[in-house]
């Protein structure tokens, strides 16, 4: 029991994921600044932002909203992100618990933060938040199918087992999934799916600053917004780690493998940042078409190639 709490709260849970995710957030902002020939924020900036929102700022509740849900949504978002993070990292880092990494459970846990953002936005009673929430729902509908198909494709490639330990074992012996043509074809939709899950440009229409003023998060301030920031930091670690597990032979915490593990995560985040900095924001129907038509087509081609054994 105490051990489980340690896993959840300290390592590899809340504390570790928050700190590492904060670092990745700084990395993202620094790379963005470098792309735009700016100097960029200092290393500790994400922690300053989080602590300022948590300790200094006042929390305001909307007058016309459902207050309970408004307050509960960020807490549950952090909870969902942390549980997903723990369940992804535990099997990958070689902790022997009863859980061996059921991909379906992880898939559903990863959907919790987005759903909570929607509930929080709708319960705030702000019309712009409602617009953001409706866009987020449409975005979820478009990328979740592609994401599920990608996960199913990886399962198909590694011997029809939905356990993460088996998946890692297969990659250990048979080479990483991304090392084949079908693996690369699965990796491209996966990257765009996590881009949409993280709400980064080109898929940030749910929180577009310039048109709907942060959309889903417009009414959040103080502690609630700090928790939303924290859940974003945790997701920024969790989703690249999940991608590393699915495609790149997972993470290993011993010897020289530490370097490779860190480079894998940083590489995925770098890819996300570069996509974010070289694309404009899509309209919601463009995003739906992008996932439903083109990304699903790529996944289907990958399936055919898997069936042919390429």
């Amino acid at each position: 029991m105490l051990k489980d709490l340690f896993y959840f709260l300290v390592y590899p849970g809340l504390l570790f994921a928050g700190v590492a995710g904060g670092f990745l957030s700084w990395f993202d902002r620094k790379i963005t600044a470098m792309v735009q020939f700016r100097k960029g924020p200092p290393l500790l900036q994400p922690y300053y932002d989080f602590l300022k929102l948590l300790l200094v700022k006042e929390t305001i509740l909307p007058a016309n909203g459902s207050r309970g849900m408004f307050l509960l949504a960020p807490v549950l978002a952090v909870f969902g992100a942390t549980v997903a993070c723990v369940l992804i990292l535990l099997p990958m880092l070689g902790f022997h618990t009863g859980f061996s990494g059921d991909l379906i459970v992880i898939f559903y846990l990863l959907a919790i933060p987005s759903l909570m953002y929607i509930l929080g936005a709708v319960s705030s009673g702000n019309p712009l938040a409602a617009v953001g929430a409706s866009r987020e729902i449409k975005l979820i509908l478009s990328y979740e199918l592609t994401f599920l198909l990608v996960v199913a494709g990886v399962i198909l490639k590694s011997g029809m087992s939905i356990r993460m330990t088996d998946l890692l074992m297969t990659q250990e012996t048979g080479g990483a999934v991304i090392g084949s043509v079908s693996g690369i074809l699965l990796f491209i939709p996966a990257v765009f799916c996590i881009q949409a899950k993280l709400g980064l440009i080109p898929f940030d229409m749910a929180e577009a600053e310039t048109e709907i003023n942060h959309g889903c998060f417009i009414e959040y301030s103080g502690i609630c917004y700090a928790l939303i920031k924290l859940s974003k930091y945790i997701l920024l670690l969790t989703l690249p780690a999940f991608l590393a597990a699915l495609f790149m032979n997972g993470l290993h915490w011993d010897g020289i493998h530490i370097l490779w593990s860190v480079l894998k995560i940083l590489g995925v985040v770098l890819l996300l940042t570069l996509i974010r900095n070289t694309n404009p924001r899509l309209k919601i129907h463009q995003a739906m078409k992008f996932f439903f038509l083109y990304m699903n087509l790529l996944v289907i081609i990958a399936y055919i190639l898997i069936a042919l054994g390429i």
Partner: protein, 144 residues
């Protein structure tokens, strides 16, 4: 308390309110975010919602309609919030001060922490004003 002050100074998020402005100050404020001046290196971000803001930048002359909106924004902002009046119009009313739609300079409507005069102030002047605001927070803490 000192720790809270330190964090607050390190991460000031800006919200921009333009009154009946001629748009010059708005452009100069946006200039501060461009690669040449880059206020993000001080941890500052331009945010779209007043609920996330730590600094309220006000520019332009404030007429009677703007006054209501400015008061509403100030009431909705999570405290502590700093207010910066930018440009001659924001500080004193400038050439609009005697006009009939004019509803008083910003500091007669809400408390102002820093004034950045100029028509429009250069981005360097805005940056220097922001740095002085941060320094002011520091000395206030030292006196308290």
């Amino acid at each position: 308390m000192a720790f809270k002050d330190f964090i607050f100074r390190k991460s000031l998020w800006l919200f921009h309110f333009g009154g009946a402005s001629c748009n010059n100050c708005d452009i100069e404020i946006l200039d501060c975010l461009t690669p040449r001046y880059d206020v993000e290196r001080f941890g500052m971000l331009l945010v779209g919602s007043i609920r996330h803001a730590d600094v309220l930048l006000v520019n332009g002359s404030i007429n009677h309609k703007d006054k209501e909106r400015l008061l509403e924004l100030y009431r909705q902002a999570p405290k502590p919030i700093l207010v910066v009046a930018i440009g001659a119009c924001g500080c004193t009313g400038g050439i609009f001060a005697g006009g009939y739609p004019f509803a008083g300079p910003v500091d007669q409507i809400i408390p102002v922490d820093a004034y950045i005069p100029g028509c429009p102030p250069k981005p360097e002047a805005i940056l220097s004003g922001i740095v002085q605001l941060i320094e002011k927070k520091k000395t206030e803490k030292a006196h308290a």
